[in-house]
Symmetry: C2
Subunit: 259 residues, 2 copies
């Protein structure tokens, strides 16, 4: 059963303030919770239907964390997503640990991506393209927002995020190539990518901040063939990553799909 | 002023049944209405603030359609999007006219794309990549749904849609190359695209219908480099179109950006 005390606690985790105070966040639904169970996140408590519990927890020693059996109506009432009828977990927030591009690696950098759905999509795109590190400006949406977790479709378990002042961050990492998506840059289809580096994507309406522009030597633009004025930031990131991966894979001479 | 009669009519246009009965649909917000004003859609009536009206309608002969001056609170109450504080137009639905790929042209084909936001995004992606024709299965979301119009960010004025039975449609158009996005197809990065053809994208959870598979000779897959199981349909379509345009532009030897 879901007690009033837990219900209140779960509801409180919909706001960033309470997530930070409690060092905890919500993961809702079967797909996301299954990915969570396989990750290195610490689970504090799992609320699950009898059915989900028996299907997902198969260890003879039990799950290793607290579990409460609940019914679908309780889950729908507790969480953000009314369609959730399987499970809801409370997990521990990770430390905000510094991340940077190592040799042969790319890092996605997000400057003031405000919409939680967009941030979740960007984490999913990074995961698809094998980018395991995302660095965000302090005013980017909180990655532990339930809408971000849901939109990432489980990818939040495989991609690490680091929040910081991007001006300082980019100034400190000019040893590697830094690319940024602009509306007036070099044609992406003709861009020659370094073996490792940073790809900066900007705010949904204003693009990359003025203060960051001098720190981004490689300005790239997705070529446009029709009338639309812009592309959604998640789509733009996917197109850039696809070009980058295609080129680097061709250079290395192997088609490392699913690698 | 927005009379009760108009308010009721506008509200009714949120449902497909009433849109079809009245042959009319809603366009909300300054960006979308400005694009509408420049398109070949017939405008039945425009509800606008004094400010928007004077900024947008500059012809000395007047607009050529009915106009009612309203205030932002009336607009927010009437429409689907509470953020709208400039204008709302009622425009005429176009005839469901057959579309097909002519020489040198690509057509996007959508099989049961259910989410209006996704359909709007797909129309915007098609527009960015210069694809002016989208063919949809009868069970795809209605392109005149206000959420589709909003998500297309004005691109609905430049892209034509045709709804039909895709099995019949694809059977009739095998004279051109037909590509479809699958999870088990040929690597998109190694695909050689014909000069014209069709690109089929499937349903958000089930992909392309079983019944259509035998009609799609070229099965393509976006190569994956990480752990995410799938990509959103709008993102997948953008990545396919980007590869297609890049390749065809390289073959033709010109970098026709904004062409």
């Amino acid at each position: 059963m879901l007690s009033k005390k837990w219900l209140k606690f779960i509801k409180s985790l919909q706001t960033k303030k309470f997530r930070q105070e409690n060092g905890a966040f919500l993961v809702e639904g079967a797909k996301s919770v299954r990915e969570l169970l396989q990750s290195d996140f610490a689970i504090r408590i799992l609320f699950a239907t009898e059915e989900f519990y028996h299907a997902a927890i198969r260890s003879p020693d039990g799950p290793g964390f607290a579990v409460e059996i609940v019914n679908p109506a309780e889950l729908a009432a507790a969480g953000v997503f009314q369609s959730n009828n399987a499970c809801l977990a409370v997990a521990g927030i990770k430390e905000n640990r510094k991340l940077f591009a190592e040799a042969g690696e790319y890092v996605l950098v997000l400057d003031e991506v405000k919409d939680p759905g967009n941030l979740g999509t960007l984490i999913r795109v990074a995961d698809w393209y094998g980018i395991r590190k995302v660095v965000c400006s302090a005013n980017t949406a909180d990655c532990y927002n339930p809408k971000v977790i849901a939109a990432s479709v489980g990818s939040f378990t495989r991609v690490d995020l680091y929040y910081c002042d991007l001006r300082d961050y980019l100034s400190q990492h000019r040893d590697r190539a830094i690319y940024g998506a602009f509306l007036d840059g070099e044609n992406l289809h003709q861009t020659s990518f370094a073996a490792s580096g940073y790809v900066v994507m900007g705010n949904e309406s204003r693009g990359i901040s003025e203060t960051l522009r001098p720190l981004i030597p490689h300005r790239i633009t997705i070529p446009r063939f029709g009338g639309a004025e812009s592309l959604n930031v998640g789509i733009a990131a996917a197109v850039v990553c696809d070009n980058l991966r295609k080129q680097l894979t061709m250079i290395s001479g192997q088609w490392a799909v699913d690698g």
